[in-house]
């Protein structure tokens, strides 16, 4: 299957006012290698050079890298580069099964392999995907907000479509309006958030109704307005939702853009929520303060002029 080929650069830079003696970090910056997303090449560089690195595949199947920088520095740069070929197509509604959301929820409770279209190991993953997690809690605000989308016997595919549309239309995207600790109740109260909030809200709505949902971390390719040149490094990290739709599998859905995920997206990894798959987290040792990271992402057709 041929698809769109991309060069991907994701660079995160921390600049500190005072020296940091040690930086320990963990990244989830290596894109998943999937049937509809081939990873052709990938590398991760850390500056200053770490004394120690280690890469493994985590519980969720994502490739993650540990690093330990143990000499003093005032600047830490983590750069991930990958070349990919993405052939993912957004499924048409007509191609999606009509299984009702209640049947799916009951199938998870009863471990009904026939209804769920999965095996025993799959049931474990689906049970995990209906539990609350670090950033997804079960509260009445979410239940009440979600209720109108969960009409009895409604096909799960339509529930998903409805949630995507409602989040896109009922909530405003506002950069900087939330932090990592914003709850779904706060999000609903303020009516504005960023893509991670929208993903968490949709996951919570599905899980409180017993439908398995997980969090996807990745990228979306941005296109300039007509007539404008594309700005380099201005592409975006992104987050969306993945819903278990028996007979189809995990259905990737983007509430920020009210659409199903296609070949303009690159998947880094899946987890229960943001907490499981942040692109980068770490611990630093310093007498000084932290630093706000500068993030640059460049997702361009393969062979474009390299991003500096």
């Amino acid at each position: 299957m041929s698809g769109r080929a991309y060069d991907l650069v994701h660079r995160t830079t921390y600049e500190y006012a005072q020296p940091v003696t040690d930086s320990y970090g963990r990244t989830t910056l290596t894109p998943r290698d999937l049937p509809d997303q081939r990873l052709l090449a990938t590398s991760l560089t850390i500056d200053p050079e770490p004394a120690d690195t280690g890469r493994h595949v985590d519980w969720f199947g994502n490739t993650t890298t540990y690093f330990g920088v143990t000499r003093p520095h005032t600047r830490l740069v983590v750069t991930a580069r990958s070349t990919l070929e993405v052939s993912r197509a957004a499924p048409a509604r007509a191609d999606l099964p009509d299984t009702g959301w209640r049947a799916v929820a009951r199938g998870v409770t009863g471990a009904d392999l026939g209804v769920l279209h999965t095996d025993a190991a799959g049931v474990v993953a689906l049970r995990e995907a209906v539990l609350p997690s670090a950033h997804v809690t079960f509260v009445d605000e979410v239940r009440d907000w979600a209720a109108p989308s969960f009409a009895d016997e409604r096909p799960l595919a339509d529930v998903v479509t409805d949630l995507l549309h409602r989040i896109r239309t009922e909530l405003t995207y506002r950069s900087g309006s939330t932090t990592v600790s914003t709850t779904q109740a706060q999000l609903l109260a303020q009516g504005a958030g960023v893509c991670q909030d929208f993903a968490h809200l949709m996951i919570a709505a599905l899980r409180v109704h017993g439908v398995p949902a997980r969090y996807a971390s990745g990228y979306i390719e941005t296109r300039p307005r007509p007539g404008r040149p594309k700005l380099r490094g201005a592409d975006a990290s992104h987050a969306w939702v993945s819903v278990w739709l028996p007979g189809h599998g995990w259905l990737e859905a983007d509430p920020t853009n009210d659409q199903l995920v296609d070949d303009r997206y690159v998947v880094l990894g899946w987890g229960r929520d943001y907490h499981d798959v942040p692109p980068l987290r770490g611990v630093i040792f310093t007498e000084g303060g932290g630093a706000t990271p500068r993030v640059e992402v460049d997702l361009v057709p393969a062979g474009s002029e390299p991003f500096a």
Partner: protein
């Protein structure tokens, strides 16, 4: 007294006697009630003397470990059955752990519902697939057991995270054996030692292949504020492991190291008492200050083994209790021998209905305890509370279990505890599990002995043995087969610093007591005659030696409104002894001494804690006495304290405190090996002594005074410096400044002299490795030594300037004091560099996350 745990003695009518039974002893050997009362009192004293505590730090609070000397007695056949059942249980739990962090074949509704594990915060996905060398995952396990109504053992909880209590059990045995010595000697009771021996060997067996022949192990503690800090420190010293905290450790190039006082020292095995989730702020709980960033990585690299491995607390989920019989059949193909209290996990529909219907009769437990979720006794709730609980359970049923209360049927007429639990311990060793032949029993008057058992009493557990267990020779044979201490010095900069400050506070307290004694004597003699030579000397002493005891202002005040008597200000000398808030008080120094000692308990002789406890008790009792007197109106309504009562009761208290302080310094001098830690302790003491001596000389002797006043002053200075007797023996004539200075500054035969003290300080510092340049430290101390050598006592003693001051003495002492203070800072800089603070990398939340595309049309 009820006896709820000993081997049951069925009565004829089918019930069980819950009274102590001594029939196993030879006739006439049973202790009488009077014996037991006396034993209880002695036990209390011994435990206080050993500094055995439980619970968090509290001033004057009761956090003493309490022990009922009446032991739990289990006969040999019953124990043999229990032991086998505990081994089976440990093997089962170990196998479950292997599966949960491996193939996960057991996660199936027909065996173990997956959400019991998936929803438990102790299930650490970050360590999935990691294995401990040696074939075991569960190395150390503890089992909380109760007796059921028919007298059988029943498990109420498995402790698999980082079981506490083995140290307490050992201490309980020591104390019980001592206070019930006549009984203990006549009985053949199984020893606890083999368990600790097996634990040492177990730590060796799990060491990574990189460890070499002598694996180096540490005990990782959450710190002295931990509830079971005593247990941790005691275990560390029994196993010979350094007691370390997370900030003492660091991961470098895929290995774990102890940050020793002389650089990094590799660590191969970590016996942890920090909960798994807190052990690594990078891969586990972000923000944890109890762990080490990169520890999970080092474990993954196979260079360090953590015991118990990270993630074992998933087995503490009470929901598992209900599934263990099924698991035993699936995993071991055996029936589970040891029953658990009937437990229902609400994550299953039927169990949920069962629990909700019987909320008023069940113990309701969260699968994991949290700030707002703790164990609830259903029958204690009001109807409204029960409804609230039911709603919480229904909303998130997988978070809860209902458990039946299991316990003996105690006759209402029986006085004594109503609930009792015994913790048994097992350690993986040589292909099986070694069970401690004994355990930690706790009894309470309530229905349930909760883990934080406020008011619970501990008991020793005696397992009757028909013959002595494990001959001594066999034990000694492989006594070396354990693990070694990590590092050449095995002492972290944190421990080193605490030892140094221990030395300083001990000396500060001792000096404070001597000064108070000297001043109090003068007060008693002269406070009524302020114009006499003695009265003037007293005024100088108060100003010079105990300024903190004086009220602010500095003007003499009337001490009695009726008489208009003007005299020296009434000093709060008692505050300077008793009040921890008064700067420079003895009580404050003692408190800090105790706090420092608590953090380095594993470095000290246990004998240190007896005198320390006695000092604290003496001060506490005296505080209480003073309070009572004040409340009784003794000193109220008369305005200021009557001058006569300033020193009332002071002298005996000072004497008692000094006696214990001397015991502590004696133990340090005679009872500790001369290792790095000792030299730092001694250095702290010497530096403190030098500083205080110089400060006293400066405050008392710089001002020139009439000869009769000065003589009294000098005597007090000699007394406060513990040199009065020496002086009198050497000099029959009147006391003079030059000679006093000679004895206190130059005399190298006087252990209180500055020269002697500086020599010792120098020698101590020579014996301590200096990871950073000590040039400045040595330069300052060299300067002090030169100033001391150059000090001509006759000249500086006699040369008085026009304004009545000994200017050259003042200058010299000032220079010395300044250098000593600078040297102290330098010592801290050179030896005790504190770990750099850590913080989480700022998160990437919303940094440049995807804005929605224009109108949704990309």
């Amino acid at each position: 007294m009820t006896d709820l745990l000993s081997s049951p003695r069925p009565l004829g009518d089918g019930t069980i006697a819950h009274r102590p039974d001594w029939t196993w002893l030879p006739p006439g050997a049973a202790p009488t009630d009077a014996d037991l009362t006396r034993a209880a009192r002695q036990a209390e004293q011994l435990l206080a003397g050993h500094g055995v505590t439980y619970g968090a730090e509290a001033v004057d609070g009761d956090r003493h470990w309490r022990l009922d000397p009446l032991p739990v007695v289990v006969d040999e056949p019953e124990w043999a059955r229990l032991e086998a059942a505990l081994v089976q249980r440990a093997e089962l739990l170990d196998a479950v752990l292997h599966d949960l962090y491996g193939p996960r074949r057991l996660l199936d509704d027909r065996i173990l519902p997956p959400s019991t594990v998936l929803a438990h915060p102790g299930f650490l996905r970050a360590v999935d697939g990691l294995r401990l060398p040696g074939g075991r995952e569960l190395v150390l396990t503890a089992t909380d057991l109760v007796r059921d109504a028919s007298g059988g053992w029943c498990v109420v909880a498995d402790r698999t995270q980082a079981p506490s209590g083995a140290g307490y059990a050992m201490e309980d045995r020591r104390v019980t054996a001592q206070v019930l010595a006549p009984v203990y000697r006549q009985a053949s009771i199984a020893r606890l030692g083999p368990f600790f021996h097996a634990l040492r060997k177990a730590l060796r067996e799990v060491a990574p292949p990189t460890a070499g022949d002598e694996p180096r192990a540490v005990l990782l503690s959450p710190g002295p504020a931990s509830e079971t800090a005593f247990d941790q420190a005691y275990l560390a010293s029994m196993l010979g492991l350094p007691l370390v905290e997370g900030s003492d450790l660091v991961v470098r190039a895929g290995r774990l190291y102890l940050q020793g006082i002389d650089g990094l020292e590799p660590v191969d095995v970590v016996l942890r008492r920090v909960d798994g989730e807190w052990c690594d702020p990078l891969d586990l709980r972000a923000g944890s200050r109890l762990g080490v960033p990169g520890l999970v990585h080092a474990v993954r690299q196979g260079t360090v083994s953590v015991v118990n491995p990270l993630g074992t607390s998933v087995l503490e989920n009470p929901a598992l209790l209900g599934y263990l019989p099924r698991l035993a059949r699936a995993v071991l193909d055996q029936d589970l021998t040891l029953p658990s209290a009937p437990t229902w996990w609400c994550g299953e529909e039927r169990a949920l209905r069962h629990v909700l219907a019987r909320l008023d009769r069940l113990v309701v437990k969260p699968v994991v305890h949290g700030p707002s979720t703790t164990t609830v006794l259903g029958w204690r709730l009001t109807t409204a509370e029960r409804e609230q609980l039911a709603a919480r359970i229904t909303a998130e049923p997988w978070r809860w279990v209902g458990q039946e209360l299991v316990g003996p049927d105690v006759e209402p007429a029986d006085a004594g505890p109503r609930a009792a639990v015994m913790r048994a311990f097992a350690v993986a060793h040589a292909g099986s599990y070694t069970v401690m032949s004994g355990g930690l029993a706790r009894v309470a008057d309530d229905h349930v002995v909760s883990s934080s058992a406020v008011g619970a009493l501990a008991k020793d557990v005696w397992v009757l043995a028909s013959q002595p267990t494990a001959p001594v020779g066999a034990l000694r044979e492989d006594a070396d087969a354990g693990v070694g201490r990590a590092g050449a010095y095995g002492i972290s900069p944190r421990a080193a610093e605490n030892l140094y400050w221990m030395g300083r506070y001990a000396e500060r307290a001792e000096d404070g007591v001597r000064v108070l004694r000297a001043v109090a004597d003068r007060w008693d003699d002269y406070h009524r005659t302020p114009d006499s030579a003695g009265g003037q000397a007293l005024a100088v002493l108060l100003e010079a030696l105990t300024p903190a005891a004086l009220p602010d202002g500095g003007e003499p005040v009337s001490v009695h409104p009726d008489t208009e008597h003007i005299g020296p200000r009434v000093p709060a000398l008692r505050d300077l002894l008793l009040d921890q808030r008064t700067p420079g008080s003895v009580a404050r120094a003692v408190r800090r001494l105790a706090a420092a000692a608590a953090t380095v308990r594993d470095q000290l002789s246990t004998d240190t804690f007896g005198p320390l406890a006695r000092i604290e008790r003496t001060l506490r009792d005296e505080r209480a006495r003073v309070r009572v007197r004040q409340q009784a109106g003794d000193v109220l309504d008369v305005g200021p304290v009557p001058p006569g009562s300033v020193t009332a009761g002071l002298r005996p208290t000072l004497d008692r405190v000094l006696e214990s302080l001397l015991a502590i310094s004696g133990i340090a001098a005679e009872g500790l090996t001369r290792d790095v830690g000792w030299h730092l302790l001694d250095a702290g003491r010497r530096l403190e002594r030098a500083q205080r001596l110089v400060a006293v000389l400066r405050a008392a002797l710089v001002e020139h005074r009439p000869a009769d006043v000065e003589e009294l002053l000098l005597e007090s200075v000699l007394l406060a410096s513990e040199s009065a007797i020496t002086y009198r023996r050497r000099h029959q004539s009147r006391t003079d400044v030059a000679r006093v200075l000679d004895l206190l500054v130059h005399d190298r035969t006087n252990p209180r002299s500055l020269a002697f003290t500086l020599d010792r300080l120098h020698a101590d510092l020579e014996s301590v490795p200096a990871p950073r340049s000590a040039a400045q430290r040595d330069h300052l101390l060299q300067g002090v030594a030169e100033l001391v050598a150059e000090l001509d006592t006759v000249v500086v003693g006699n040369e008085v300037s026009d304004d009545g001051r000994r200017v050259r003495l003042a200058d010299a002492l000032e220079s010395i004091l300044w250098r000593l203070r600078e040297a102290s800072d330098e010592i801290e800089r050179v030896h005790f560099v504190r770990p750099t603070p850590s913080r989480a990398l700022d998160d990437l939340w919303g940094s440049t996350y995807g804005e929605p595309s224009e109108g949704g049309a990309l």
